[in-house]
Subunit: 252 residues, 2 copies
Amino acid sequence: MIPLERRQYILQQAALRGVVGIYELAQALNVSHMTIRRDLEKLQQEGAVVLVSGGVQISKKLSSEPELMVKENMATEEKIRIAKAAVEYIPQKGCIFLDDGTTTLALAQLLSDREDLTIVTNDFVIMDYLTDHSVCTVFHTGGMVRKRYRYCVGEMATKIIKSITFDVSFMSASSWDERGVTTPDIEKIAVKQAAIYSGRKNILICAQSKFGQVATFLAFDLKDLDLIISDKKLSKQAIEAVAERRVELKLV
Amino acid sequence: MIPLERRQYILQQAALRGVVGIYELAQALNVSHMTIRRDLEKLQQEGAVVLVSGGVQISKKLSSEPELMVKENMATEEKIRIAKAAVEYIPQKGCIFLDDGTTTLALAQLLSDREDLTIVTNDFVIMDYLTDHSVCTVFHTGGMVRKRYRYCVGEMATKIIKSITFDVSFMSASSWDERGVTTPDIEKIAVKQAAIYSGRKNILICAQSKFGQVATFLAFDLKDLDLIISDKKLSKQAIEAVAERRVELKLV
DNA sequence: AGCTATTTTGTGAATTTTTATAATTTTTTG
DNA sequence: CAAAAAATTATAAAAATTCACAAAATAGCT
């Protein structure tokens, strides 16, 4: 890894998460903290980041730029915590499905050094990340391209998903409540149901903030799940609803 | 491998990844770091890359327009001429397949305003371009991701391709001769054959410079094609070989 | 083919840049 | 205010770069 690559990685992490720690970066990149400090100094001179005690913050100017904004909305603290909890459920040499979404992307980012895994996804952002940063085997489901959201839906994707068996299907949700997970895109229903059909274990990884929101179409019922991983702020009402449906719940 | 090929490979890698390390290239190309350095110096003089410590970065002008950059790096003129000729064969409201490759990418770039089309591809670069710049319906075949080249291969992709019918399949080739199109990737054979199986019309769009090069595996015979579009510099030997197989030939 | 001239490539040494370690000072935290 | 964490500084080690020159490959010629 050459110095520039390292700086790009730092920028990416900063863009993704808002702030990053120096020692964390040093460990991730396997270099000394001094090297990171010198990198950060350069990046600060370029105006890309702002140094703060213990790490860097993405400069406001950048974080308001459209491409990064999309990412910004991604890996928050909660999502990373949820993703870390999710890793525990991935067996050695396993084959997993990652649904489209930012929480599943955060999970993908934790798996870059897992050579043993086979990862299947319908999301192009996740695929891009894995293509550039991972050593695992990657499959894309294909299907009709939803340009705006950069993932695939439709019958083609559904068919392929049904023809594979996953040790774990990690499902995401942009909206869920006591009934189940809902989506505004009718074409996504079949895809999500296929992923659940093909998962020997189905885990919903989803921030509590999405609870209570409802979209037009019901993709699947909470009963179809084996486990829900969410964050600790999840409302009592939600916890009760999950318990009633006898689905295991893990809050992190 | 001749020096020019080596530089094209370097450019391709740089285009693909943004930055590339010198020692990495030296190892991949099996030459000394000095040879790479001299190559990079030349490429820098041409303005294609910028030298940085430990490697090169793709020049900003190019990297900000990824679709142009790929074109840029390999004999553009011919490819665009070939692509323009290929457009003639695309019917209104048609469904076409675009094989992975830079000539097919050039074709995709000419189709951005065609709202009537359905385009299917196994190439992620083509898909990305169409996602960002086109108004047509896009499908991706999915399949096993070949990270380095950014396309899909394998049985999954093959199956899907066979289940669709294309008005035209536009095939590419990194190497071809009188026998047919060859590839170094065994997994690509089935994909290419499936595309030809599913094409009501099969057109090879391919620069003459690739003629005479041979890779390990034969993907398909020239006889399987309805038309070959190439550039005018195509050798007499090649023209005769094509005529013998009763395949129409168009030189532009 | 055989020969020379030219270009390209590899090797090793000197130079410069980058990085790691350790000691010291400053800032943060309880 | 004291302990811990972080930042700074200095210096040694490692890596990357440059330069010079010999070896190898290529091209052009008879």
